[in-house]
Symmetry: D2
Subunit: 366 residues, 4 copies
């Protein structure tokens, strides 16, 4: 398998960068859920290129066409499929990638795995473009969650060593989550955003690129979502977050910081707050034993620098079996972190929606 998340929801992603289309099928959505197409488009536009200096000037126009699963603006219980046409198909720009793999890309590993039959144009199925279908599925899940008072948001936590203000994991509000997404550059502290953008511009001027970190939060979650061991919230979210091509790390709550903490520091003390159980700190990131505890769910993902840089790079010719040098042409984002923000939200929204559908089922039967 490659491109299927299989839970209460099955999310099956297909397409290559330069194939006729990319798209997604979501099976298992309850019937009767409204899908606000305008709101979805606003969400997809946050992922689309060409909206800032840090992004490639290519115009993708990620406008989904819904082939099935909707009836009169609502889910109808049948599998929902949406596709986005690729207008820029079969270009000849990528002819050499079967022979000279780009460092940091999947060209070489795809060549080995698929024996040369892979679709190389535009990165094929490995293209970052495949996060658009993920965002369609995630955007629908976000709407379903919002109707139930659950809000998902993310912001750029760091780019090139410059840090945004972090979420307050205890007092995180819906507004904290939604505000960054409304701006051109999704940060909490505008000043940090400006410095990040300057760093991106500097990297671009050097024909180089930058990586970063995205922080994502979910509030309004009931306690009790998720499962122990292999279907915990961490497992579900991590599985989906690593579907975003450039992600190299996922951490929850205090994350790797737990390594420097003592138990007395890391444990989150419980207390009663007006009849509700809460914790005074939130190093757990809202998850205990794989299950939500009702506090904000908080996690971060590490996003590597765009591997496509305009500098000459060392590579090999697979056909000749010798070293060579590669220069990548075309226009590429000097930093994909800003555009990856909604993708991380999508991963979180799908995972939470999946767990919500499962928990609903179990609790009602008692």
């Amino acid at each position: 398998m490659s491109s299927i998340y299989h839970g209460q929801l099955t999310v099956s992603i297909f397409g290559q960068s330069h194939a006729p289309a990319i798209g997604v099928t979501v099976d298992g959505l309850p019937a009767g859920e409204p899908v606000d197409l305008e709101e979805l488009q606003v969400f997809l536009n946050r992922r689309a290129p060409g909206t800032g200096n840090w992004s490639t000037p290519r115009k993708e126009g990620d406008q989904p066409e819904f082939l099935s699963g909707l009836s009169q603006g609502r889910t109808c219980g049948a599998p929902l499929t949406a596709v986005i046409r690729n207008t820029n198909t079969r270009s000849g720009d990528y002819a050499d990638l079967r022979d000279i793999p780009r460092p940091g890309h999947a060209d070489y590993t795809a060549q080995v795995k698929y024996g040369g039959f892979q679709d190389v144009a535009g990165g094929g199925h490995f293209s970052g473009r495949l996060t658009a279908p993920l965002c369609i599925a995630g955007g629908i899940c976000k709407q379903m969650l919002a109707r139930r008072g659950i809000w998902v948001g993310a912001h750029i936590a760091a780019i090139g060593g410059i840090w945004d203000r972090a979420y307050d994991p205890v007092a995180l509000s819906r507004e904290d989550l939604l505000a960054p997404g409304r701006t051109r550059f999704s940060v909490l502290a505008p000043e940090a955003g400006e410095r990040m953008q300057a760093a991106i511009a500097a990297a671009k001027a050097d024909r180089d690129s930058l990586g970063g970190i995205i922080e994502c939060g979910v509030v309004g979650l009931p306690a009790g979502l998720g499962d122990p061991m292999l279907d915990g919230m961490e497992n579900r979210i991590a599985r989906l977050a690593f579907a975003i091509p450039a992600v190299k790390g996922v951490e929850f709550g205090a994350g790797f910081g737990v390594a420097a903490l003592r138990g007395s520091q890391n444990n989150d003390p419980f207390y009663m707050d007006g009849g509700q159980v809460k914790t005074r700190t939130n190093h757990a990131g809202g998850i205990l034993g794989g299950i939500t505890n009702g506090m904000p769910l908080v996690f971060r993902v590490a996003v590597k620098p765009t591997p496509s840089i305009a500098q000459p790079q060392d590579s090999v010719s697979l056909s000749r079996g010798e070293n060579t040098t590669l220069e990548i042409h075309g226009r590429h984002d000097p930093c994909i972190v800003p555009r990856a923000v909604p993708c991380v939200e999508a991963a979180a929204a799908i995972a939470v929606c999946d767990a919500l559908l499962e928990q609903q089922r179990r609790s009602e039967l008692l």
Copy 2:
């Protein structure tokens, strides 16, 4: 679902800490694979308690009984099931956990999810003891991989802010991977290990606990294992690693460090080495586009400090709906990182074995 990894191999874990037994079923193993029970026991003993100062003096005796799936010392194609009897069942030590949840544990979330019907004794299905069946499955996978020249190992990368020497991600050898597991305390640099043990002893004296980081590597991997998007090596490993109860983060290669790198630094240049494609650096951790590139696979997990500490902690009484203080008695590891090392190896071995079984299938059909 909760406790099933479902791929080419299905690994289904069951049991509670104080139920009659814990165990695992592995479905999908090829027939004819020898299982060296002594070697497996050596591996399981690395996870067992009572072998060092940093560990609880309880004696668990993790000796698996194989109920099915073996015939004359080899896998027979039928599902393999092994169980470990719990000798210490139904103790009364845990009577209050349904009312006063331990901070950092799953007591509260289990209470909400299972409506009070969960088995609380010893942490029930959430106990760290459930990593023993994971290690049975992983130990068998490790043996299968070793016969094919693929070696999996891990070491304690850090405890309480003290760091072991890191793996060399380019020159990582089989010996580097196996050596730490042969010692009482799995580190590469004995001196660092001694300082870590002193830190654990100090935390213990303070009735406190420590967290840490485990680094895991796999060498001898062919290029071409794994899949794009949702079944990449990162997705598979992360899903399994987060099954270890205390894990709060997973990162591959340069991991969260990518956030401070430029593309020109993070990209791993290709070169030919005696007919083989290699990379000069290995920030990718051996994975590009979810697929192995033939370089060592390297990842790290963050392990939180043992939540069970002997200090009084703030908690709540769920029945009375008011704040209270909790003191945890009994003997608990002041640091579970050393015992978690083989669990991380198990997670990696299962993921790699799963991908190997899949790739075998596809490539043979071309």
Copy 3:
């Protein structure tokens, strides 16, 4: 994979006939469901051998031990595992089966699939004994369904060409379903049962065996369970029913009889009955478009004659590559149909419970 049903419930069956044990893990059961062990034992005893002339005099003693998943007599949310010890393990009776396969058995196909590494003793994982774990899972599901007013039952519809009275698919009552299971020989018409038993005795005297048909019904079902296409009630039930080794056919409602009907005869007209939608006939067997319509669900399975007969049979020596003759010794049921009746009920109960868990989930979210 081999032995896993993967839906809202995951039922994973393991064991070989002469391995230490056989058993089952059920993952996904709601927490808090009581399991009446005595009632379960009564159900399992219906499958056990040695209770009649038509059955092998071997004594199996199918008493399950619950290793996990129960706490104080109720499901606790963790995976439930039960095992049955095999007392008669590793006998030498089956030494030749690797060389001279028994006609009608899986000896030859297992030899090819598993390359000689399969466990041949007692039929290994292919033994009819593996239906005992299926009955454990099914028996628990039957109890869950009964608490919700849903009743599952089956009877011997035919043996050796002798037919029992058929269910009335429109007026089928709970009592019709439960009555046959209370008797030694599960038929609706005692006189037909006596003739069947005489036919079995005659076949046994001829060192031969008989096949038959089992009819199964479910009443009390709400309309709306199941899914279109690949997860319809027919798909789920058929997948589980064909797990019973001797089953060679499954048909719903009018089944193969539809081939001789016109649409005007086969269509079941709707009518209102005190505010409830019903159909006047029930050729659909209670299923339309894969989904229950509230009428009794009725299906039949064909069970082949026991392949182990005491007559000399033509076979081959795989090692010598030549024809030979085989005589099967030991004691075998001259007809397994009576003992297969609870197995068919188990298959139906698991499928219905699975669909009920799914539907519960979806409908609550609207």
Copy 4:
């Protein structure tokens, strides 16, 4: 879930009869497999309407567009998605179906399950039209199998009580399998076909419809495909065959006929034939213990009469809660059996391809 077959291949079907499109995603196909689009179209045309007197004169034009998964005429390893546009969308013909359900259709059960949000136009996701995507997936699998010497075919075994000549389950040849598909009406005995067509014409004249039986065979199969218990060839095929909306029964080999046989008659004696193990009879339908034995695989499915008939039928008004009479207008096949023949082949081809991919994997690892 509804419309996903999840094995080595994942086949995910989507679409409603009058949605913009119907289609299928196949994930898990090996890379490098040629797809002959002309041959596929010939296969799809066998399912298309309008080619005979027994079929509706509507013109559907089932021409798939491949959105992804192909590169230069071959599979590229990425998920393969093909869609067929619905030209006849959103007609008003079906307005009343939400209120007055058609007997024998899923209108009522969909209404209950989806709470009125289902897409009723043209039967929505329950339409027989959804078998077209199944045939796309199956047609590609048939091509993959044919390149490996495995041939799949089917014929009309019976319509309205008139029987075609049956397959010889022992001597079944490739030509027997392929010949019926080349004719306008897929039978082995043309004379029987003429009588069937006359019976269909007579039923049509009476504004009625006919059901039938389809027999399917696979030759060239290696022994060793499939699994015991829940993933046997019977389980896989049955699960896929019941995805065809009108199928109400599936039987293998002697099928329900086993009920009248003794073991000595039903067992298939083994013999050596030029170094190959064969059976003299084939009541097993080529499957023992869920696994192929190298003999032809033979099964039959029962297809109910088209429920849409032009006669007035009794139904109910759901809104008014009272009995009423329904007349179905529009053009419908008086017998869908002929068009269902390639659908049954598709189900078989997918199941066999899935098992082949799995077995390939396991055997290579020994």
